[in-house]
Symmetry: C2
Subunit: 336 residues, 2 copies
């Protein structure tokens, strides 16, 4: 699994950080201060920190512009916008999931309460649209980019709605699950590509094709992640392989097992107050008995193949196609 | 106090309702169903209901277009957008304030939990931008309208942030309070006017002038409401005049009293587990002793006068100016 991002996603990281900082200059000082905390530039005491994310989405947005022969910089307002929307979604998700920590730091709601965390998320949305509306592009292009961002946000929220609603259900189908993931995870991987393309002058068709590829790549990543969440080697993935079950997550293998003869074991384990290692083991054994491991792995490979097929259909020079393919593999195999 | 809205704000109510329904057609069926509940068209069982708001903001938006000689209908996408943003803010506010009821109906979070209420609010934001982006206007006008809506949303959220932060402070100044109200209440009364004007082809200066007037009117309304919240006659206002104090609200008279010799009485009452009628009485007496009633009334009148002065500066035919003035008085004197 490639641990290092391809050069296309790394070359502009400093410029992205500068542009994000510039986008968070105007507004009430306290909201800006919390926003800097969310972005990872400050700790809880307002002291400088460097704990920001990998900026995969903005990097994708800039990269998309270069596919159309434009400098990456033409897509910078879009790069800023997608990263701010990503961070809005993290802040609201943390409230919704009651996660008190992310990357070993207290989340916003854990620091200052749910009410203000909701406000911070809402504020970041306005900063995203503000950045995109202020791009030096034509009104037409800016409007198309705003529509793409807004539609991706709507799809992401629909995915989040579905994800929350799944928590109280035991009859979620694989189709429902994959549709949820395409919204929750895929939409904000497809949108950066579409927006970068739009700001570089691409046609609606070109932007839509890249967007679909990005969404599909996001879907493949999540299914792979679901597999590794149970059958990954912690020393290779760096992540626990019991956590998904301990936290009662409804990932693809669980949904597969729940629809078949592993249902009783899963319901028994998920019904326990505390899911111990023994219970995790019983669930894993039951999942393997019904082939949920192989089905999930095959599902992920099938979706990754779909992404490759989409890519093969693009009219692109061979070199650029190879670059895109490398970016896709990195996204599918990346850590979170 | 005028109980009935001026004709300018009433003529298009049915068309507004139709346009709002049309804007909430596409999306996941459950999110659309909850949205219909929020808009007041359905009860909790999905049965038809008629409990929607007064649609003051969309009516203002349509009215603004007519000031520039255009049919109200040219501003309909803006009318839809401002009402959806208003409803997004209500849904998130209810979570933030832990209000379990609004207009005798359970709020969204009370029905389906905070996580889904946050999602519903976020979803309504995307529907607002979607409606505005799809207007038949030029890309330039649509973009200006989107920027006006987004800026108003940012101001509203900043106001909401300040309002929440005031809850744990006892040193809020009148200036801070009025700045908070201008954002929280004023921004979304000014924006409909600006957006309606923009969609009708008004210049940036014309739109900005109307917007400032609307914000100022919103501010005057809130200060008047603060006065009536303590010294109003319940049989005339239809509202309790003890509730603001019982709920420990920091309204303008309280802030005035807290900065002077009513501070001890207010802190003593607000520190009680339950604020009974006797404690309310002591606070009111202390407020009157320091002239908080007269100061609030005079403050409201001063702001209403500011709005009138702004209006006097507009280049408008006398008849239209009278109409705008009537709309302003209705807004200042309206119930919530």
């Amino acid at each position: 699994m490639p641990a290092v991002a391809p050069p296309s996603l790394l070359v502009n990281l400093d410029a992205i950080e500068d542009a994000l900082r510039a986008a968070l200059q105007d507004g009430p000082s306290e909201l800006l201060s919390v926003s800097r905390y969310v972005m990872g530039w400050e700790d809880a005491d307002g002291q400088p920190a460097e704990t920001g994310g990998k900026r995969i989405r903005p990097a994708l947005c800039l990269f998309a512009a270069t596919l159309f022969g434009k400098p990456a910089s033409v897509a910078m307002p879009g790069a800023v916008a997608v990263e701010l929307i990503h961070n809005f979604s993290l802040v609201h998700d943390e409230v919704q999931d009651h996660d008190a920590e992310r990357h070993h730091r207290p989340t916003v709601w854990a620091r200052m309460g749910e009410a203000q965390a909701i406000n911070v998320g809402d504020f970041l949305i306005t900063k995203a649209f503000e950045a995109l509306a202020a791009a030096p592009n034509s009104a037409e292009q800016r409007l198309r980019a705003i529509e793409a961002l807004n539609a991706a946000m709507a799809a992401m929220i629909a995915g989040q709605w579905a994800d929350v609603s799944f928590e109280t259900r035991t009859d979620v189908s694989s189709e429902e699950y994959l549709a949820m993931v395409r919204g929750k995870t895929g939409a904000l991987l497809g949108a950066p590509l579409a927006i970068g393309a739009i700001l570089a002058g691409a046609s609606p068709e070109q932007a839509a094709a890249l967007q679909e590829w990005g969404e599909t790549v996001g879907l493949a990543f999540q299914v792979q992640d679901d597999y590794l969440g149970i059958w990954g080697q912690p020393n290779l993935t760096g992540k626990s392989n019991t956590n998904d079950i301990v936290r009662r997550k409804q990932t693809l293998p669980i949904i597969h097992g729940m629809a078949g003869e592993a249902r009783a074991e899963i319901l028994a384990a998920y019904g326990q107050e505390l899911i111990d290692n023994e219970a995790v083991g019983r669930v894993v054994t039951a999942l393997e008995r019904v082939g949920a491991d192989r089905a999930t792995k095959a599902g992920g490979e099938r979706i990754a193949k779909m992404a490759d097929d989409l890519l093969a259909g693009f009219e692109l020079p061979a070199e650029i196609r190879r670059e895109l393919h490398a970016v896709g593999r990195y996204l599918i195999d990346r850590d979170r």
